[in-house]
Amino acid sequence: MGLFTNFLRKFLKNLFKTKGEVKLGLYGPPNGGKTTLANKIAMDWIGEEVGKVSGIPHETREIQIKEQITIKSKKSKGKELTFNLVDTPGIATKIDYEDFLKAGLKEKEAKTRAKEATKGVVDAIKWLDDMDAVVVVLDSTKDPYSQVNITIIGNLEARKIPVLVVGNKIDLKKSDVKKVQAAFPQYDVIGISAKYGKNIDEFYEALFKVTNK
């Protein structure tokens, strides 16, 4: 039944897909910098932000989409890539409202945030099937061998969705992009700082490769 539903979804998706329309998803655990990167991309190319960024986990609890972003290659003149950018809520195996209390939220607010965050994770997983290419955004100061990271990448691999791994936060001292590369040797891994725009041009060039443009 599940296989048939997936097939039908993919068939309908391809049937109604506009020619040249690419859905580029940003996936990863909470606080890896997905929305910071989404904002950087959108600000650089269309001058708009995608969503709010904060130090409290699960700030993004709904799928956020910026349509028709066109980036231009600096290496190959005239080369362009247009995509719809899909910023997803962070995927986690646990959500404790008490963590939000510690972050300074009031009880009611913390419980609401936890409820919304769980729904966000469910939505992010559901949307996996709709992506044409995915950038997995990881915090390069953290252990990359987490089951969340392995599960996200394993699912993308099973769906044959092209993946680019980003080791974000290279501006921080504890950043270790080599460790991220060692964890996922089968993928292109790029170290960036979405916050300060470090290595962002290499990242844009890599988007052409991952989307096969």
Partner: protein, 128 residues
């Protein structure tokens, strides 16, 4: 008191992914740590995360999960092919998976041939 429940591969291998996940979550929701012989597939793991999210409430905070690969990395190529074929037919029996309630397990670390499990200090928690 910590309770560890071992689930042999044969006990869940014939179950559908949905039933397998239901079974595992039921044990975890009883505040037990589950040690499974074998590994879950990536789609089973994402389904486990999805189902876990749907069940989170004030008492159940989610899960911690880790896997231990028992395959030796320096095995001969023919051995690897044989294992891949067996895994394809019978599912991944090699390895261990540990799943526990996040309210009890603080962190699971892989080191890389052993699993280190750090539990919450429940006494400390109760004092609060």
């Amino acid at each position: 008191m910590l309770t560890l429940q071992f689930i042999p591969y044969t006990e869940i291998s014939s179950l559908s992914s949905e039933k397998k996940i239901q079974r595992l979550l039921k044990v975890v929701r009883e505040d037990k740590i589950v040690l499974i012989e074998g590994k879950l597939g990536s789609s089973e793991k994402s389904e486990l995360i999805r189902k876990t999210m749907e069940e989170i409430d004030d008492r159940f905070k989610g899960i911690e999960i880790e896997e231990l690969d028992l395959d030796k990395k320096d095995r001969a190529f023919t051995d690897k092919i044989r294992t891949a074929f067996i895994n394809f037919i019978l599912g991944s029996r090699r390895g261990l998976t540990i799943i526990g309630p996040a309210s009890i397990i603080k962190e699971i670390k892989k080191d890389p041939d052993k699993i280190l499990l750090f539990t919450e200090d429940t006494k400390k928690k109760k004092k609060k």
